[in-house]
Amino acid sequence: MSKTPDLKGWLPVSISKHTAEPVVEWCRFGTRRFTESFFDHTVQNAMREPFNLLFRHQTSLDTLVDWQMKCPGMQPSGFIFHMSRCGSTLVAQMLAALPEHIVLSEPPPLDAILRCDRRGASDAQRIAWLRAWMSAISQPRNGEQRLYVKLDAWHTFDLPLLRRAFPDTPWIFLYRNPIEVMVSAMKAPGMHLVPNLIDINIPGIEPAAAQHMPQPEYIARVLAAVLRCALQHLVPLGGKAFDYLRLPDVVFTDVAAHFQLTLGADQIAAMHAKTAFDAKTPQLFFEPDALIKQQQATADARALCAELLDPLYKQLQ
């Protein structure tokens, strides 16, 4: 890990969490675009190629910083925060429909850098690594001009740090009627909705208490923490919140305006074409499911929503 290799054409696609020091894995990405629903799906596809499996550079995080100085990439043009199960993948897919965009959907390396707080990394250190990673991953390989990042739902808790790292990047927060999110999450909970599965602090929930909490209550409390956090930062940190109900049309109007994105008719058509498909399983057509989800809600879930989530939802609206 001593000398910095020539990293032109290589992307830092993975950062280890469980090694003594974080190891950055660089993969030679060619002209491959991040068009799959999630960043890691694209990486997995790249890793099917024998070359990528065998030949990767492994460096320290500081190499990212060296490389940023030698070969600066882009600044993000927009961040998408969200409460999960609320259309954020669709918005990312719509933005990725345009070839001039690089769109990173829930990239694990970004999470790995944020979680370096657990290793005792200072805010300044994490900010430097975040900027350097963003710069390296956004090297244009097809003439791309703009970079968008859809974060993980729990990164709403990291909003202040991300704002400090990227003060000029506009951000939005997506949310949805909580009962619909609850029904979806109870069927297949996201990683942050299972107690202690990933190493994060949920404001207002004691890790010890989390172990004994019934699953629906834990989900409701985490979702509430995310909404509360978004509400708290929305105005002071200059974000805009959008309800799932306004998707997809709001992307062409208010979201585009907030991201200072001017769209022509062809671009709107390309983005609109994405809305016909299920964002996470693009082989399937999109099926509206709000009504079904509301009907599937258990009394338990309804009670939790009414108590913990609906008041926050109303405030966001």
Partner: protein
């Protein structure tokens, strides 16, 4: 005293022609196959020149024995005898070891040998060819006919004879004494050359041209074949199995990268 080298060419050399003349006197039926067939593929066999008294099995050098005696064969081979007599230290087994063309000795360690243990092995190549590849801890060491080598064979080593003629070495097991220590210390240490798949992998990571070519091959078998070919062209010796194995290991490591 500094650590002994892993390998060193000793300041002794012998006339290969004379040694080969001795070799030519041996009958084909005198060669006895190595008993441990798990160690090799093809034909690895030997002739005893000094062995446990009363035994003619050259492959059997029981460490517990101390009563080694020259065989009759050694008496009849004056060039070989001259080599053996050049060693001013107590000798244990002395034998000729033959690895025929196309044969391979798999990677192994000889745990009964070691500088610290006071038992070391000396090799004198009598007949060899450029296709013989000897690796000590994955570094290739080239030993030429008539040279005399100290090798730390307690370390992992392997041999493949990819040439078209046999490789025969005179192999002398010695007990360390002051004379031998001094001669090893005055030898020319050899680091060997890195070879094999892993050094080639590192080389590719430094060479944009090799990257360009290999990255363009998305078909697995075409990729593996070309990797082996480019390895050879650049002086790195490995087989398709090495690349396949590395790919399997890499896939496993990649899949398990999130597991604590």
């Amino acid at each position: 005293m500094p650590d002994p080298p892993k390998a060193a060419r000793l300041p002794l050399s012998f006339d290969p022609a004379g040694l080969q003349a001795d070799l030519a006197m041996l009958g084909t039926d005198e060669w006895i196959a190595h008993f441990n067939t798990r160690y090799y593929a093809g034909d690895w066999s030997g002739v005893a020149l000094r062995s446990v008294a009363g035994s003619n099995n050259p492959m059997y050098g029981d460490a517990s024995h101390h009563d080694f005696a020259d065989t009759q064969r050694l008496q009849q081979c004056r060039h070989l005898r001259a080599v053996v007599e050049a060693f001013e230290c107590p000798l244990r087994s002395v034998r000729l070891l033959r690895l025929t063309a196309g044969s391979v000795i798999l990677e192994h360690r000889d745990f009964d040998l070691g500088y610290e243990l006071g038992e070391v092995r000396i090799h004198v190549p009598i007949s060899t060819n450029p296709g013989v590849e000897f690796y000590l801890e994955n570094r290739r060491i080239v030993m030429r006919e008539g040279e005399c080598w100290y090798l730390d064979l307690n370390l992992s080593h392997r041999v493949q004879n990819l040439g078209s003629s046999e490789r025969v070495h005179l192999v002398i097991d010695c007990q360390l004494n002051e004379w031998l220590r001094a001669i090893i210390a005055s030898g020319t240490p050899s680091e060997g050359t890195e070879s094999g798949y892993e050094p080639f992998r590192r080389r590719v990571l430094d060479d944009a041209g090799l990257q360009e070519e290999l990255a363009s091959l998305t078909d697995r078998s075409a990729f593996v074949a070309r990797t082996v070919e480019l390895g050879r062209q650049n002086g790195f010796q490995f087989e398709t199995g090495d690349v396949d194995g590395a790919m399997q290991a890499a896939r496993r490591t990649w899949m398990e990268r999130w597991i604590v």
